[in-house]
């Protein structure tokens, strides 16, 4: 069964149709990449899934629930977490504190005036576990705003992981990174997918990353779904090549 089902969603801003009747189904445990030229509507499409704004028409279903018009906090509670193209973190807090907030919210403690020793220990264990997975343990005490770009991106993914997501949405996880950082993040995403059995949808421009990671690829162009298939199928698709190279199909 599909974990995420998107049924003919459109989003219109004034006279601009940013996303046009896009449908998509992501299976449990799948890693789906969304690619497309600049301005193809990828991030808008992400915003529709994650609840940043509602679609003009169409429906989004997550794990059987209709979440089309659900507020962000409810989607998070159902197990959906996302990162942003421009890193969204708590810059003046250290890495540990950044992760602790998500862990406490997920444990249901966000309105609590205090925690018992056991609860504090449980939160700490959870945060340390994620620091380990994301290889950030050595930087736990550093302010996130002072970390290198690649580590900030990793920290944002780590924050998403504190929510115990069933679906992780990554908006250009390697944006603005050098080769080494791109390699590290790619390895992290693969670990989460292979070892963590996490369902992941990511937007990505770096084709090496896409073809290395994705089970399936969806191609958006001018707001519409141009093609969908395995990396092999997409690489051989004439329409996709035309969209990227700007030739008539």
């Amino acid at each position: 069964m599909s974990l995420l089902e998107v049924d003919r969603v459109s989003k219109q801003f004034g006279s601009l149709v940013a996303v046009r009747e896009v449908s998509l189904a992501v299976a449990e445990g799948e890693l789906r990449a969304i690619i497309g030229p600049n301005g193809a509507g990828k991030t808008t499409f992400f915003n529709l899934i994650s609840g940043f704004f509602p679609p003009t028409s169409g429906a989004v279903r997550f794990d059987g629930h209709d979440i089309t018009r659900l507020p962000v906090t409810r989607r998070v509670a159902l197990g959906m977490a996302r990162t942003f193209q421009i890193t969204e973190i708590f810059p003046e807090l250290n890495v540990y504190e950044n992760l602790r907030i998500g862990a406490e919210v997920t444990a249901g403690y966000r309105l609590r005036p205090w925690l018992s020793r056991g609860e504090t220990a449980e939160v700490k264990r959870r945060v340390e576990e994620i620091l380990e997975v994301t290889r950030l343990s050595a930087k736990a005490g550093r302010l996130v705003g002072e970390l290198a770009h690649g580590d900030q991106r990793a920290a944002e993914i780590a924050m998403a992981l504190t929510l115990k997501p069933r679906l992780l949405l990554l908006d250009e996880p390697t944006a603005g990174m050098g080769d080494q950082e791109t390699y590290e993040i790619t390895r992290l995403v693969r670990r989460l997918h292979r070892d963590g059995k996490l369902t992941i949808v990511l937007i990505e421009h770096d084709m090496r990353v896409v073809f290395h990671l994705a089970d399936r690829i969806s191609v958006l162009d001018q707001g519409a779904l141009l093609a969908e298939g395995t990396p092999k199928e997409i690489a051989a698709n004439a329409a996709v090549q035309a969209a990227y190279l700007g030739k008539a199909a």
Partner: protein, 327 residues
């Protein structure tokens, strides 16, 4: 840095923090004894505590949730009127008067706050000014109840009964200082406790990055409303104490210029800092007291100082001192 070194670093940091805390409380506890040597007097110390608490209540919202209220004088002033009205018309009891003022300002603040938590930044600040002015004009016009422009009087703070002993806080200014210090300590302790709680951490999360906070599953509007309401209760409590300080409540305590003074104290002292607003209140009140005995244009000097601090120490006086120590 290794994990062990990190822990050690945190250890010395927390020792330093503890030493600073101890120094602050000892200085406050001994204030009636050392203040005369630096030209102060006990009643001045009492005023500093009360106005400092009000500035800290503004900063609870501004410095830790990132939300600027420019109308906190409304809750402060309502606290003062609630306290005064109870003493004048209902019962001669200081604790009940404090409670009445705190509840009046806090509850009204919470109710009105619910209407505006979706507003952000300048818009939020503007609406809070408007609320404040509404209460100002009500207090100004409703002379039969509030005394109008002349203020609410007469009422006097009642002695405290502890069963075995009765303390006169009306004539004995030292006893009154310690009563206010105890009230101040209770509120500040609660504030610090809340900020170190999981809820307090969600406030800081909202200050740091509202979008990220929302996508971590925090219902941002609800949490801002709770922080706002708590802050209103603290402000109203400070206002009730202020009525006890003066044995008087007047509409100017509700006026937006009073709100501005609180924001100024917070920014002067350092709004990212828990104790910053208290330092700001000390500087503000002492300068006011000293300069206003020389010239009626004392505000020029405080304004000038404010501009200099904002230009050269954007993190406030306490923020600047801390930065220097780290460097």
């Amino acid at each position: 840095m290794t994990a062990a070194a990190q822990v050690e670093g945190m250890g010395s940091e927390s020792t330093r923090r503890f030493a600073a805390m101890a120094a602050i409380w000892i200085a406050l506890a001994l204030a009636p004894y050392w203040m005369p040597y630096v030209g102060g007097y006990t009643a001045l110390g009492t005023r500093v505590l009360v106005l400092g608490l009000a500035a800290m209540s503004v900063n609870f919202l501004l410095g830790f949730t990132g939300v600027l209220s420019f109308g906190h004088a409304a809750w402060f002033g309502l606290g003062a009127y609630g306290c005064g009205l109870l003493l004048k018309f209902v019962a001669h009891s200081t604790p009940l008067a404090l409670l009445a003022g705190t509840v009046l300002g806090g509850v009204l603040g919470g109710l009105l706050g619910a209407l505006i938590v979706r507003r952000r930044g300048v818009y939020f600040a503007m609406v809070t000014i408007a609320f404040g002015q509404v209460f100002y004009y009500i207090a100004f016009q409703w002379s039969s109840l509030t005394g109008g422009d002349d203020g609410l009087r007469p009422f006097y703070r009642a002695p405290l009964h502890f069963g075995f002993v009765t303390v006169d806080i009306l004539q004995n200014s030292t006893a009154f200082y310690y009563f206010v210090l105890a009230c101040f300590a209770a509120a500040v302790g609660l504030m610090g406790f809340l900020l170190r709680s999981p809820f307090g951490r969600t406030m800081v999360a909202i200050r740091e990055n509202e979008r990220r906070a929302r996508f971590l599953g925090i219902p941002v509007e609800l949490h801002i409303w709770i922080a706002f309401t708590l802050s209103c209760f603290f402000a109203a409590y400070a206002g009730a104490l202020y009525a006890l300080v003066n044995n008087f409540a007047d509409p100017r305590g509700l006026h937006y210029s009073q709100s501005g003074d609180f924001v100024m104290m917070a920014v002067l002292g350092g709004m990212r800092n828990f104790w910053g607003p208290l330092l700001g209140a000390i500087v503000f009140v002492v300068l006011q007291d000293y300069i206003s005995s020389i010239t009626i244009n004392w505000q020029i000097f405080i304004g000038l100082l404010f501009v200099l601090v904002v230009l050269f120490f954007p993190r406030g006086l306490l923020g600047y001192l801390q930065q220097r120590r780290r460097a």
